[in-house]
């Protein structure tokens, strides 16, 4: 498997902050894998995510996409390589669902791949279960529907690296599972997927790899079952847990001790 996106020794230290909010973090995002980023609130997940997306320039350390420094890649070329789903997905003005999903095709305007626009937009809307909403204005939708519209936009971009920041946060159970399945399917098709999640069970069930952050540092990285042990979760989250084994699938299930 090839490394698509890698961060090495990344430190982010805003001038106003007394301490770095991310220190010496390493991360490798491989093609064909779902990589779950987990950690408590304020652990630096969003910061690391921002660094990988190219939004935050680290004070030190390197971020490379296919071996080339991320900062050296022009925005348009970058947009043809990786798609980013943020937590905030407000849309100004009354753009319709279909118009917004179609905006995901913007990087491919005036290229050969423009021909696939209609097909990919329709497929992305079907996968996220928003086809019936396609003529509605995004602003008139519920939070969960908006989150799915944003995900559809990201899928329509049709690129090999997906960075998803809490894509399941606003969603009901079924749509959460839909989204995680989509992430896994994309990875199975060869994409490198980074997934920030709060749900440790989702990380265990859908992650091929997990990275646990705490207080701006990477605590552990590796296969989800190795990373998310009961001791480590208790240490990082300050909450004792039991890890059970699912009777059918055999995956670990994290249950807080109550």
């Amino acid at each position: 498997m090839s490394i698509r996106l890698s961060a090495g020794g990344v430190t982010v230290h805003p001038e106003a902050a007394p301490a770095p909010i991310l220190e010496n973090a390493d991360l490798e995002l491989q093609a064909g894998e779902v990589h779950a980023l987990v950690g408590p609130n304020g652990a630096g997940k969003s910061t690391l995510f921002g660094v990988l997306a190219g939004d935050i320039a680290p004070a030190s350390g390197t971020v490379d996409l296919d071996g080339a420094p991320l900062a050296s890649i022009p925005p348009k070329d970058l947009a043809r390589q990786r798609a980013v789903l943020l937590q905030q997905n407000d849309v100004a003005f009354a753009f319709t669902v279909e118009q917004v999903v179609r905006m995901g095709r913007a990087p491919w305007v005036r290229t050969e791949r423009e021909d696939a626009d209609d097909e990919l937009v329709a497929a992305a809307m079907a996968a996220t279960d928003i086809t019936a909403l396609r003529h509605r204005a995004v602003r008139s939708l519920s939070g969960g529907e908006r989150a799915r519209v944003a995900l559809a936009r990201v899928l329509a971009q049709d690129v090999g690296i997906l960075l998803l920041d809490e894509p399941t946060a606003a969603l009901d159970l079924r749509h959460q599972e839909d989204v995680l399945r989509i992430a896994r399917d994309r990875a199975a098709a060869g994409a490198a997927v980074a997934l920030v999640v709060h749900d440790l069970n989702a990380a265990l069930a859908y992650g091929d790899r997990a990275t646990l952050l705490s207080r701006g540092r990477v605590v552990a990285t590796g296969s989800p079952t190795e990373v998310l042990t009961a001791e480590r979760i208790e240490e990082v989250y300050g909450q004792p847990v039991d890890i059970l084994t699912h009777p059918v699938t055999g995956t670990g299930v994290v249950v807080p001790k109550r």
């Binding site: 980013v84 943020l86 407000d90 100004a92 009354a94 753009f95 913007a106």
Partner: protein
Amino acid sequence: MSQEVVVPTPSRFRASRFAVVTALLVVALVVTMIVSLGSGQYPLSPTEVIGILLRAVGIDNAWAPDAAPAAGVVLGIRLPRIVLGLLVGWALAVSGVLMQAIFGNPLADAGVVGVSSGAAVGAAASITFGLVTLGAWTTPLFAFAGGLIAVFSVYLISRAGGRTEVVTLLLTGIAINAIAGAGLALLTFLGTTSTREQIVFWQLGSLNGALWQNIALVAPLVLIGSIVALVVANSLDLFALGERTARHLGVRVEALRIVVIVTVALLVCAAVAFAGIIAFVGLVIPHLLRMAIGPAHLPLVITSALGGALLIELADLVARTAVPLADLPIGMLTSLIGGPFFLWLLLRARKSAGGWA
């Protein structure tokens, strides 16, 4: 935060809606201009007006009246005024669309946020100090500088996290307008009787005294601004997703932002340079057209340009003919339309989303 009542417009109807709206606007604009050319103290029928226009471009015809003053009135006095009005309305409406796009906020307008006042201060300074160093370009250049300072200030002060809160934008506009008002007051105080009169004319807004020389200056600016607006229109759609997402989709956000701000200043200065402050055109027109054809920026720029021109032509027709022998200030008329429209938006937003607080 929901500023517009959401009318689910099926997007498949939107392309044909755009064609219909554009056609209607073009027809209305042409009719208004011909009626306007024929109206006034020396009335002419629409056929006579068309006859004169055709003869002026070298097509001889029977419609043109034989009386010599008719052609002079139409071509020398009314036509420059009407062409200037067209350009001014066009420029203001397009600048409104651009500003609303980069502020991500449907209430941004050159008048509301103080860009027009900034440009007027620049222009007033050049009048008061009798600056002629750059010939006919002096006043437009000063207006451009004033407008650019104002729009950059508003932008830097009122933005946070890639978006502009409505309240912050409006309050910033109040502050910028206050500062510009003080500047204008000072310049009025310093000036002579004649420069004072000119400055008062600025603040009222009028197309009176439009000359072909003015148009020769304004037209290229409006043309450049409009071309830029059309080129960036599709990128502006992505701005609606927020700046970070726009960047993730390949937009060079910082560069686009600066290009748009400079273009706004260019368009506003072109409008303000010879016509003074004409408020609310950039607010009312894009708003109405967004309701009619949806928010996509490419069709919005085109229809807003036509709509802005139409509004100014209608306002100017009223300004010239409502009171016999008087020429009302056009800025007063657009504010008379725009003020209540603004209130209506405010009330509607309060009903649908509990206001903008």
